[in-house]
Symmetry: C2
DNA sequence: TTCTAACTACGAAATTATTCGTAAATAAAT
DNA sequence: ATTTATTTACGAATAATTTCGTAGTTAGAA
């Protein structure tokens, strides 16, 4: 994909994407059940949004069975990268540093998390040598 | 402020807040001019949103002069922290680590940024000793 | 076969956020 | 003093997203 097709899922679209990324291709029923573990969401609401996503080309549908099976077409980390980018611009004037520092400062990361991050930093440093 | 008043500015509210945080108490005209350096925004649009924000208690207005002067009531880093929190939940299942790693991985931070982040990490590590 | 339950299709209502037009008030300029 | 420009007030139009009701269809159970 050469020219970026900047996909910006809405909030409820993202919610559904997260489930499809985690559990793979799923029926509306399955997705709706998962959503209802957290908060009440009407079945037809989930259906409608998944249909809209399919229209937009974010999902593809397999209609061979009566229970249609939906799968995500878009890549998880690419999409999250885009979302992060937008959030970064809007909230931290595009500075990853500011965001990272706010994230680290606010969230009391565990020793293990810090270790992983330090590891990642040295990897990045080594790559650019 | 004891019980969190979870303030969630919308996108255009945040845009205005950023300006008020940077430049301090300002008139609608000033804010609107700043906005128009980037993109066209109607004057009454800016006015309306700032009035709404004042209604919500996000801004306070000084009406002594004809040009009302608006100031932010909410704290910059607290608000950004809240926004980050929400974004984190929605997009990275609340894991600051995932987000930080995505941010660092995606944004080719400069050597200086990495240094600052490492410094911050050691500060956090020392604090918890 | 007939009844019932589950599913899709569809459109409209509700919600939230944003934009804009117009009127009224005030100050500044001529 | 009259005109002109700037500002606030207000409500309505627009837009985007989400929710929901209802009808029609299909599959499975009785």
């Amino acid at each position: 994909m050469s020219l970026k097709n900047k996909i910006n899922p809405t909030e409820s679209e993202l919610e559904i994407l997260q489930l499809l990324w985690e559990f793979g291709p799923s029926s509306v029923r399955f997705v709706n059940d998962k959503q209802n573990e957290n908060k009440e969401v009407g079945y037809t609401t989930t259906l409608k949004i998944m249909q809209i996503m399919a229209d937009k080309g974010i999902l593809i549908v397999n209609k061979e069975q009566r229970q249609h099976v939906y799968s995500s077409v878009i890549d998880e980390s690419e999409t999250k990268g885009n979302l992060l980018d937008g959030f970064l611009k809007k909230t931290f004037s595009g500075s990853a540093k500011k965001l990272v520092m706010q994230a680290l400062g606010n969230h009391n990361p565990s020793k293990e998390e810090l270790e992983e991050i330090k590891k990642l930093i040295s990897e990045i440093e080594n790559k650019s040598k």
